[in-house]
Symmetry: C2
Subunit: 650 residues, 2 copies
């Protein structure tokens, strides 16, 4: 790709971004669009639906940009919870990493690359006609001493990222504990989900639970609620699962942590989600069924990953003009126009890819939902992981090797050759990924601002219904976190190969910071709270990016005939993985369950709180499937111990 093609893409996308910003600045001032752009403020009563017209509304306002930029972490924490804070910290973390990397990359590595003559000397007179490859490491002469600068850069960046990762993990851990301390009593803190409840002949599930927990947890057991599902005959049946509530958080934790039954696949305990976070539709209580559905989902994910490669490969073919001319000969005359060809090579491929990728998060969310998770937040967390690895595999590796599925799988069956193959293939795709950052990063983030689909939906439905309840959306973390992490992976792996990518990445991160700050303030409201459980995914992804960078650098230095450097890189991935292992031991347990110290302190604080009695009253009936709620009004106070089958048969 030539510099001019990149500039074209840059021009189009900058234009689009500015357009989106102006459009948003005008549209958000129109009271009729408040439901789309400030639903949160509407619901909270901070903004009223005015309908009188004035001219001011047509002048784009830019004050929101400043307000969004200045939004503090405390504001986000109090308004959108810890998950939003973690999300914003992913962006600020990346900003820090790539500011540092950008300085080294642009002011040190880039000049070194340009000075090389391996490919061809840079043509300063007609800069836009240079191939982008002269800015990459490919242009540094083989065996050149200058490569030691790249070598040092790899070491310095790794140390810097690990240092930041450690402090970030520590900070978010402490935030998580602080968040727990400051939280009001929540049903989930006192409740566990028990599955695989064995039932002896002649007794009900409810009786079985009651007798088990009064026997083994006599002092802490409070109440339980058997999960009921509608069977095919439309009658209610008791599943062998129940939400069991305790009188203290510590009591619930004890029952959760210790294996209850001699048979480990009976009385399986799990932390309960918040009542409105429970995912009811696919509530399977049998151990084998959940295990099987998990297996099926894993297979489905692998199949999806393999099949998805086909459109990606076709899209990659589009960047190749001569291939296109062979396929569609009638386009030949159009393709010879410089501007058209530049649009096609610089912009279209990543746009099409982008559209394909749009459907992945919902699919992954669906797969996670049938995998046996009991809460929306767990489903989202699992989907986030799936989308991340899907993106890395299908965008990064498929683009880099742009080969068939079999070729790609083959590469990973010969782990020894991976560095060498990466070293050849990764730098070659530098220009594609620079264009990808600009297209996919800039434009689609800016389009997030305008919320085009909700806007259209609002315009269409405006005339049909009027006084409906306004639903405030929540940010789909499983869509946006993997995207940011993927850009971070691109940044880290291309940092020493093609540092030209870094300024574009920084621009993207700034955009993302402003836009998501603004959207958290005005649009999104959290539906549930994982209290920072997304961070371990972020951490793992960063570690993977680092190790990938090390693998590529080993290959590159071998390829560039500097095998001492190649050997000296070896300790780096080992140390990085050891660092990761240390972090897993030092921080991860805090993200799985709260420690005894914290639980007991919190319990003691509230021991004499008169409000707790009322809370426990509510807790007893908190875990009801909302779909079955009408039945709730008909049950008597003894409902906990009598199955609802009879009343449901009516």
């Amino acid at each position: 790709m030539l510099v001019s093609a990149l500039l074209t893409s840059l021009g189009i996308n900058s234009g689009l971004c500015v357009l989106f910003f102006i459009l948003y600045s005008i549209l958000r001032n129109q009271p009729s669009n408040y439901e789309v752009y400030v639903p949160r403020l509407l619901v909270e009563g901070n903004s009223k639906r005015r309908s009188h017209f004035n001219l001011e509304r047509l002048i784009p306002s830019t004050g929101w940009i400043k307000r969004a930029w200045k939004l503090s972490e405390e504001d986000i924490l109090s308004s959108s919870g810890l998950d939003a804070v973690v999300f914003m910290r992913v962006i600020t973390f990346s900003l820090r990493v790539f500011s540092f990397a950008g300085i080294i990359g642009v002011f040190v590595l880039l000049p070194v690359n340009c000075m090389g003559t391996q490919l061809h000397e840079i043509d300063f007179e007609d800069l836009s006609n240079n191939s982008l490859d002269v800015f990459t490491i490919s242009n540094v002469n083989s065996g050149s001493k200058w490569l030691w600068i790249h070598f040092s850069a790899v070491y310095i960046l790794t140390i810097f990222v690990c240092y930041l990762l450690y402090h970030e993990y520590k900070y978010i851990s402490s935030k998580r504990i602080a968040y727990f301390y400051s939280s009001k009593p929540q049903p989930r803190q006192f409740t566990i989900l028990v599955r695989g409840i064995p039932v002896s002949v002649g007794s009900s599930v409810s009786e079985s639970v009651e007798s088990f927990f009064t026997e083994f947890h006599p002092t802490t057991y409070l109440s339980h609620m058997v999960v009921r599902r509608t069977s095919k005959l439309r009658s209610l049946i008791e599943t062998r699962a129940a939400f069991v509530s305790f009188k203290s958080r510590y009591g619930a934790a004890i029952a959760f942590h210790i294996q209850q039954s001699i048979n480990p696949i009976q009385w399986i305990t799990e932390l309960a989600p918040e009542p409105d976070d429970v995912y009811w539709p696919f509530f399977s209580s049998s151990f084998m069924r959940r295990w099987m559905s998990k297996l099926v989902v894993v297979v489905a994910c692998i199949l999806l990953t393999i099949l998805f490669l086909i459109p990606v490969v076709v899209v990659q073919g589009l960047t190749n003009l001569s291939q296109l001319e062979i396929w569609f000969p009638f386009l030949k005359s159009i393709l010879t126009i410089t501007f058209v060809s530049q649009v096609i090579t610089g912009y279209l491929p990543s746009l099409i890819l982008q559209l394909f990728l749009k459907i992945v998060p919902p699919i992954m969310e669906f797969l996670s939902s049938i995998q046996g998770y009991i809460s929306h937040s767990d489903i989202e967390k699992s989907a986030c992981n799936k989308v991340l690895w899907f993106t890395i595999w299908n965008i990064f590796f498929a683009t880099v090797f742009s080969g068939s599925v079999l070729y790609l799988v083959n590469i990973f069956l010969e782990p020894k050759d991976i560095p060498a193959k990466l070293a050849v293939a990764v730098p070659a795709q530098a220009s594609f990924f620079i264009a990808y950052v600009v297209t996919s990063g800039w434009t689609s983030t800016a389009s997030e601002l305008c919320r085009i689909i909700p806007l259209i939906y609002s315009l269409v439905t405006r005339f049909c219904k009027s006084t409906d309840e306004l639903e405030v959306p929540s940010l789909p973390y499983h869509r946006d976190i993997p995207r940011i992490l993927f850009f971070a992976l691109l940044g880290i792996t291309y940092f020493f190969l093609a540092p030209l990518i870094l300024p574009f990445l920084l621009m993207y991160l700034c955009l993302a910071y402003i836009i998501f700050s603004n959207q958290f303030k005005n649009v999104y409201m959290p539906k549930y709270e994982t209290a920072g459980k997304f961070w371990p995914i972020v951490h793992n992804s960063m570690i993977f990016s680092l190790v990938l960078m090390h693998a590529i650098s080993i290959g590159i230095f071998t390829l560039k005939k500097l095998s001492i450097a190649s050997t000296l890189v070896f300790p780096l991935p080992v140390l990085t993985l050891l660092f990761n292992e240390y972090c897993r031991k030092r921080f991860l347990p805090i993200f799985i369950a709260y420690p005894a110290e914290v639980l007991m302190k919190k319990d003691k604080e509230e021991a004499n709180d008169p409000a707790m009695a009322e809370f426990f009253d509510k807790l007893v009936t908190a875990y009801q499937d909302p779909a079955l709620l009408p039945i709730r009004y008909s049950v008597n106070s003894n409902s906990l111990n009598s199955p609802l089958i009879s009343s449901a048969d009516v």
Copy 2:
């Protein structure tokens, strides 16, 4: 290798076995050897040191064989504990597997192999001059339909082994629970080890423990004992570790299962071993130090594995006569004698290998001991695992590929080609491994009976000391379990390749059953009890053997141009691994810690037992380092809370 060479080896080893049996039958009747052959009976007072001579003592008695064979599981359980039962069940399990496999192998597969003409037709007239290869699958013609019999055999054996594994795991789990129910109160059941105790300025470790557990476990906390080490200045210092005892088993389990502190690397809890099982010398309490020593040990194990290959390769060279003649030309005349050459090819290599292997278990035990385990039993369990994988790698893979270290490592870096390479190399070594079973299996198991080294030691020391306390040895599980498992691996992998190995293996297992039964009865006394924790190692090893067999069969069927069969084997490893995963979920938790149900039932049973008060009194001082015991007599009743430094400085 020719049949005659195998027959020679067979002759020598059978002779040796018979010799050992006769020798043992005579020696054990000599009262002067009672300390060597029946130390256990001596200690228990069932056998007295008689010294009057009679002629009967010189006539070999065979009654012990019958008694050993008839020893029931209950006898072993009551006399040697559950670990001995598990050990014997490894043998009986293998006996069942290979009886079944033997019938299929000898009566179905062996005739099919002999009928083939791929290598050469079998020479029935001069049977002993046939190469052993005609009895292997290599002799079956490529593409032959007869190979479907081997294919079916692979499926049938896998199903049979998995079925047995499931029932065995289930049986041993239930035995483990029953053993716990029937056990007397033991200090370890009420105690946990706490490490990484943070100490605030001006307070001691002991004070820190006291205040933490009285705050967070007020109802169950009983007492604690800070671990003290001798520093370089020979004064006692408190480490940041303590044994903390509780008033109930359930109380200890709660403290063990729940992360105590906000910082997961402080207040780390571990199940305590029995007081006399504690391994004091290398008691490191710092998280980082233990982590580092673990890493160092892992690296050391890898290095040992790599360096060990050198003598193995040399030994392998000995089986090659022409190579030997080149190295030692002066031996040429001797090597041409048939008998000598047969001894060298059939017997010497495995004997030398055997001697080398003898030093491995102590080395691995040493490595495990510095890895940070706190009990002898954990060290032995870890050493058992290390020795097993060491043996599989260094005997199986090194022999099979008989190449350099780099070649061997290379194979595992190209996982795709493993089946193909195995298919070529494994059948070629069939005769070596048959000889190995006979030499290493038969003779060294029979030599276990005679306890040659303890016998010599006893003869030497007899005249130096006389009235010393008799020490009853315990069976080194980390030496013998891996050996049996390795033979099982050989049996499973060679079952369909060279079924001729199976009768020899069955013979070995029968020998092992009789000999170890006898030794448990007369010689070994358990020093500590893991209550069956060795079984998961056995289970994993069997699963690995099955998957290895599948990998080889995939390669073999491809090599034999029956690629449909090769494809149809694919589901087998997947299903086997799924089965293993299921077993991990279904049974493994029982082997890690006891469930709440069991603990509470046991606690309740003893709640009103007047003997418990006495037990708790003893429990308070149970965890004392025996090396520091003299000091114990000088401490007053308040010793628990006052550090011993002052008294130790004296």
